[in-house]
């Protein structure tokens, strides 16, 4: 059964590219345009991994991350944060709030796919 990835981002251009890329790599993909929608989708879609942009409307990426980590049922879901803000303190904040990985834009598609594969492989 293919793994599920939830993309949370409000920029259609990056969403289009990521959606295409992940589907080509055999993932089942859904998109949420803001933090509120992302939280609402979690139970129904039950993703294995959330690709979470920090700067999304309504509920920020940081807060989505924090709330997910506060709920035992969502604790197993991997979180990869995406951000255009790459200051060290921001990376540190994301990791402290419970992200598994903090990726700074721009990033390499191949590396991102490899990373996601690594996070979702049964060994880890």
């Amino acid at each position: 059964m293919s793994k599920r990835v939830l993309i949370v981002d409000d920029e259609p251009n990056i969403v289009a590219a990521l959606e295409f890329l992940l589907e080509k790599n055999g993932y089942q993909v859904q998109v949420a345009a803001n933090g509120e929608e992302a939280l609402a989708r979690l139970d129904e879609f039950a993703p294995d991994l959330v690709l979470l942009d920090v700067m999304v409307p309504k509920v920020s990426g940081y807060e989505v991350c924090q709330r997910m980590r506060a709920q035992p049922k969502w604790r197993a879901i991997k979180i990869v944060m995406l951000s255009a803000r790459g200051r060290e303190v921001e990376v540190e904040k994301g990791m402290s709030l419970g992200a598994d990985l903090y990726v700074t834009k721009p990033f390499s598609s191949a590396e991102l796919v490899a990373t996601i594969g690594g996070l979702l492989s049964p060994q880890t």
Binding site: N13, I14, A17, L21, K24, L82, S109
Partner: protein
């Protein structure tokens, strides 16, 4: 015994002795007579009683007269002589030792005068030697003071208790609240540094220094930035200095105004961050799309077009965002730390002289507005101008150039112009890449380097229709911020200021009871006021206050307070005659509610000294409510102290005291002039008081109080 008591006793003794001798003789004679004869004598005496009483009274008058004369000629003359002798010791040669009295005492006075002159001469001789070595020390000190005033940084040294021992004008300007150095600055010798810098900041700095030392750092330093007056930020760099037993004896602070630097630094940082943040997202989108295109070349046409459009659109957005960021913050990017703000006219005047001397061409200076400022590395720019002038002369035979400047938006156009020779654009292009060479001197910089350093531009400009014959090299340089006089300090003080006092090093803990402190160790504020009249309770007001600080037995003439006050009531013409202040001079001066708090701050931690202090203190007291400041410190009165020190002399007016003590009387009847006079007189009185066993503040206050009551009774 008082003089009066002594007088009465002498008269009584003389009178009784005068009566006793004839009475005793008479009694002895009468005792051996026959009883009948005794009766006869007694009757005769009874009949002659009025005559006898008259005789006794005559004797009393005679005794009183004789004692009066003896008293004047010997006792009072001797007391006066003692006072004069004491004055002569304190201020040799100030007043002649001449008294009216008995010939012997007058002779004695003459001998003392000669002895004093002899002592004076001897003292002069040894003073001469002392002066020589002091002059050497003075020279060293002057060198230090000159060095300190030349420094661009402020320097402030305090001892372990936080008392200021040394500072320069720059430090004072940086830390004074309004920046004008004439204002009563909180920076002063012996003042606490904690009124300038947050106490915790200093404590923290000391802790860090001690830790660094514990770690074995040889020359620990620490720094912090703290707000100063006028919204400025000052960077303090602190280094400790050690006492004889390697304990922390104090801290040397160097101060620099970093207000502008920090702002520019912050601005540059925010430019970087904003560019990075704004660029990241579009670049990410482009990259993701491009990598998809590269990774999956066989994707369907619709997808392919979508990604190509994403790349095109995002690229455009990206270039716009970078362009916008650069435009918005171009000023911050251009600003460089090597550039200083300078008046364009000053720069051109320097350039004029250098070009004339180095390039050996005639120079005309266009009229340039005083208000033009530019941000410039003046040394390299003048080099560049000399270089261009020299090349014009060598390659094109130009003999006369013109220098000018004018404002252009946020920039300044600086022209080096000439007439006649036609210079091609290619010449400038070639010169731009050459090292700046003038005669035998060659700089490692090229003209292009200089332009870049300024974030500027340079081009060849031709004027008018026949403009080929009238051209200039035009520099476009960043305009500068006018530097106000407040921050342009240094070299303004003519005489050497008393900005340092190393004797303060020895000062002990301030926790000791003030009364027990020696007079010579305390800090004082000598002050005087002029008023509209002599009746404070009847509504007379203060119109001027002058004050000077005394620290470690030195009158600090550079630490003065002088303010006029608008009394908001008419002046009394009689008083105006004394102080010479008229209504026009007071119009527009600050009110007492502004001046007294400033004066209060100036007097902080000092003992007040005034002549006839009660008068001045009464005025201050009456203003307590409206100004909300109370002068609660101890007060010494030179009038009372003089009466304590020289009780035999009757005249204790300020002028008389000063003259007796050898203080030159100048500048009287201005508040500051009288304050200075009071201060000088006070310093000499301290010496006289010590001879009378009055050495501490407590003793001086007590003696003053006794004299005060004595004078009241009188």
């Amino acid at each position: 015994m008082t003089a009066r008591g002594k007088f009465a006793l002498w008269v009584a003794v003389l009178f009784l002795a005068g009566i006793a001798v004839p009475v005793a003789t008479g009694l002895a004679v009468v005792a051996v007579l026959a009883p009948a004869d005794q009766e006869v004598v007694l009757r005769v005496l009874q009949e002659r009683m009025p005559l006898l009483v008259l005789g006794a009274m005559a004797l009393l008058a005679l005794a009183a007269g004789a004692v009066r004369w003896l008293f004047g000629a010997y006792v009072e003359a001797a007391a006066g002589l003692a006072d004069l002798t004491r004055s002569a010791r304190a201020a040799p040669g100030a007043a002649p030792i001449v008294i009216a009295g008995a010939a012997e005492l007058v002779q004695l006075a003459g001998e003392i005068e000669r002895l004093a002159a002899e002592a004076h001469r001897l003292r002069d001789a040894s003073d001469g030697r002392v002066r020589e070595s002091l002059a050497h020390l003075e020279e060293e000190r002057n060198r230090l003071a000159a060095l300190m005033s030349e420094l661009v940084e402020g320097v402030l040294v305090c001892n372990a208790e936080g008392r200021i021992l040394l500072y320069n004008e720059q430090a004072r300007a940086l830390l004074s609240e309004r920046g004008d150095t004439a204002a009563p600055a909180p920076v002063g010798l012996g003042r606490s540094i904690f009124s300038l810098i947050e106490r915790n900041q200093v404590v923290h700095a000391i802790e860090k220094l001690e830790q660094a030392r514990a770690r074995g750092e040889a020359a620990p330093r620490t720094r912090f930035v703290a707000p100063a007056g006028r919204g400025r930020l000052v960077k303090f760099e602190a280094a400790p200095y050690r006492g004889a037993r390697a304990e922390l004896a104090g801290i040397v602070f160097t101060l620099a105004d970093v207000t502008g630097l920090l702002e520019r630094e912050a601005q540059r940082l925010s430019v970087l961050q904003s560019i990075a943040t704004r660029a990241r997202a579009p670049v990410a989108n482009i990259r993701a799309a491009a990598e998809n295109l590269a990774g999956y070349p066989d994707m369907e046409a619709g997808r392919l077009r979508q990604f190509v459009e994403i790349i095109a659109g995002e690229s455009q957005a990206l270039s716009q965002s970078i362009h916008g960021a650069l435009q918005t913050y171009s000023e911050a990017l251009k600003a460089s730390l090597t550039l200083e703000d300078m008046r364009a006219l000053d720069l051109l005047r320097v350039a004029e002289g250098r070009v004339r001397a180095l390039a050996e061409v005639a120079v005309d200076l266009d009229p340039v507005a005083e208000s033009l400022w530019l941000s410039v590395d003046s040394f390299t720019l003048v080099q560049a101008l000399c270089f261009l002038a020299a090349r014009l002369k060598e390659d094109y035979g130009v003999r006369r150039v013109r220098l000018g400047a004018r404002r252009a938006e946020r920039f300044l156009e600086l022209d080096l112009g000439w007439r006649g020779a036609i210079v091609g654009h290619d010449a400038l292009a070639q010169w731009e890449g050459e090292p700046l060479r003038i005669g035998a001197q060659e700089s490692p910089l090229t003209l292009r380097d200089v332009i870049e350093r300024h974030g500027g531009e340079l081009w060849l400009q031709r004027h008018g229709l026949a403009g080929e014959r009238d051209a200039c090299f035009r520099f476009l340089l960043p305009a500068g911020e006018p530097v106000t006089a407040a921050t342009r300090v240094g070299a303004v003080i003519e005489s050497r200021p008393e900005f340092y006092d190393f004797d303060l090093f020895a000062h002990g803990g301030a926790s000791q009871d003030l009364r027990a402190r020696a007079l010579a160790d305390l800090s004082y504020t000598a002050f005087d006021m002029e008023t509209t009249g002599l009746a404070p309770s009847a509504g007379d007001e203060i119109i001027s206050i002058g004050a000077v600080r005394i620290v470690n037995g030195r009158l600090l003439k550079s630490e003065i307070f002088e303010k006029m006050v608008d009394p908001r009531r008419p002046l009394n013409p009689d008083s105006a005659k004394v102080h010479g202040i008229d209504a026009a001079m007071l119009a527009g001066q600050p009110r007492i509610e502004e001046v007294l708090p400033a004066f209060h701050k100036f007097c902080e931690d000092t003992v007040l000294v005034a002549h006839n202090a009660a008068f001045d203190m009464r005025f201050l007291e009456l203003k307590e409510e409206s100004t909300r400041v109370r002068f609660a410190q101890p007060v010494l009165d030179t009038l009372l102290l003089s009466a304590v020190a020289q009780p035999a002399l009757a005249d204790h007016r300020l002028e008389a005291i000063a003259e007796r003590l050898g203080v030159p009387v100048i500048g009287r009847h201005t508040a500051l002039g009288d304050a200075l006079l009071t201060g000088e007189a006070f310093l000499r009185l301290v010496g006289l008081l010590r001879e009378r066993g009055i050495a501490t503040l407590g003793e001086a206050l007590d003696a003053s109080r006794e004299t005060y009551y004595a004078r009241l009774r009188y």
